[in-house]
Symmetry: C2
Subunit: 254 residues, 2 copies
């Protein structure tokens, strides 16, 4: 059971400004809520249908403070949900502390310059998770990885990849002093399939329409591109290009 007042309060978190003020974010649906409950994120509220609560007792009992668990009807769920088709369970979690990126970390790092589309961001988190890439460093004006659309598109991968926001110029400059190679995905760059690739590297992916900023481009050691085999299409989607680049780095490392 849930009071109308509580329901209205939780529904307010549909709005980004209230999530930001209260330092929380929303996770929805069986799969992603399950993974969130198995993580060490702090839970602020858990709303679910009676059958979900019954079937998943082992998952939430003892994990979430009973005062923060609410049984809701499908109709009540639809009032707090951001999804077109709410799926049994809704969770409000406390935002984890912001991470700072260490340019001395060895291995392959992905860097995002102003990626704006939440779907792309979520898909890129999933690519990083799939490829075993532990860190993504982003410009401060890249879309928030705790945006609900990113969370849903990432399918739980937001829990397993460290996402860092900050001054990307400084991060790249310092990474280079630590011996990392900075690659940039640039239309017209060298064919990635014929370029020697160093796995101790940062790969910079630029904004969906504007690409990599000129300031960051100056810090790129090697511009790489996917050959335009068809010759009729201007560009690939940013997350698809990221997937092809990351797979190529991983394939070569094998």
């Amino acid at each position: 059971m849930i009071s109308n007042t509580k329901l209205k309060y939780l529904a307010s978190f549909k709005q980004a400004k209230y999530r930001a003020e209260s330092n929380v974010f929303v996770v929805e649906g069986e799969k992603i809520v399950r993974e969130t409950l198995l993580s060490d994120l702090e839970v602020e509220a858990l709303c679910a249908t009676a059958d979900w609560l019954g079937a998943n007792n082992q998952l939430w009992h003892g994990r979430v403070n009973p005062d923060k668990v609410y049984e809701v009807s499908d109709e009540e769920l639809s009032r707090i949900s951001l999804q077109k088709a709410p799926n049994k369970v809704w969770l409000l979690a406390v935002q984890p502390q912001a991470l700072s990126a260490d340019p001395a970390t060895n291995g392959f790092v992905l860097a995002l310059d102003r990626i704006q589309d939440p779907g792309n961001m979520g898909t890129i988190l999933r690519i990083a998770d799939w490829c075993g890439i532990r860190h993504i460093v982003c410009t401060a004006d890249t879309v928030d990885y705790l945006n609900p659309k990113v969370i849903q598109a990432s399918m739980g991968s937001f829990l397993r990849v460290g996402v860092h926001y900050g001054d990307l110029e400084e991060y790249l400059a310092q990474s280079k002093t630590h011996g990392k190679t900075v690659y940039g995905a640039v239309l017209g760059g060298d064919n990635v399939f014929e370029t020697p690739l160093n796995d101790n590297a940062v790969l910079v992916i630029g904004n969906e329409s504007k690409g990599i900023s000129s300031q960051l481009c100056e810090l790129v050691d090697k511009k790489i591109a996917i050959p335009n085999w068809g010759g009729t299409c201007e560009s690939l989607n940013a997350s698809v290009a990221t997937g092809i680049f990351c797979a190529e780095f991983r394939r070569r490392k094998q």
Copy 2:
């Protein structure tokens, strides 16, 4: 100038059932409308702001019947648009005739088994266009490639790739008799990077959550997969996986 009656009539095409009844589809935004006007598709209506019509006179004048060109204000445009941020121009085009797929065609063909997400479908059209893949064969219940969300995500690539709907089982069976190899993207399949690839082939991509149906799986000659390097993520997004597979086929063909 546009009458209120006409505006209401055009606004009705926001609904899929009216588009289907009248055999039309909607294209929006400067880039995609430009490409559509340069194609040979039949235009049923063109609505645009005064400045767009002035600046693009060469593009539409003589190409579109003057009775079908309407100058609209931004406010009028937003009434007929399906976009959150309408971009100067809106076009209604007549659906091209359905194509039938010829299993005897040489070369690489992409086959989609019940892809549902319009964003994925549009992104896959863009991948095919980029990779020079001329044909995509789809099960009848794959999302319509003339769905407005597909059109927008495809960024004009819907004009350059032949999309065929029909009995995929029959198409695969016949392709095999014409000497094509049928590959299937299947979790747990052989590592695509270590598998010999024949370019005279059909690559089957399955539904986002259910994968390839068991009937179609029986027609697959070779199951292939992208290695799960990270080991923590269940799957890649369907369009990202398609991009990685297609790039690998193209890379090997070079």
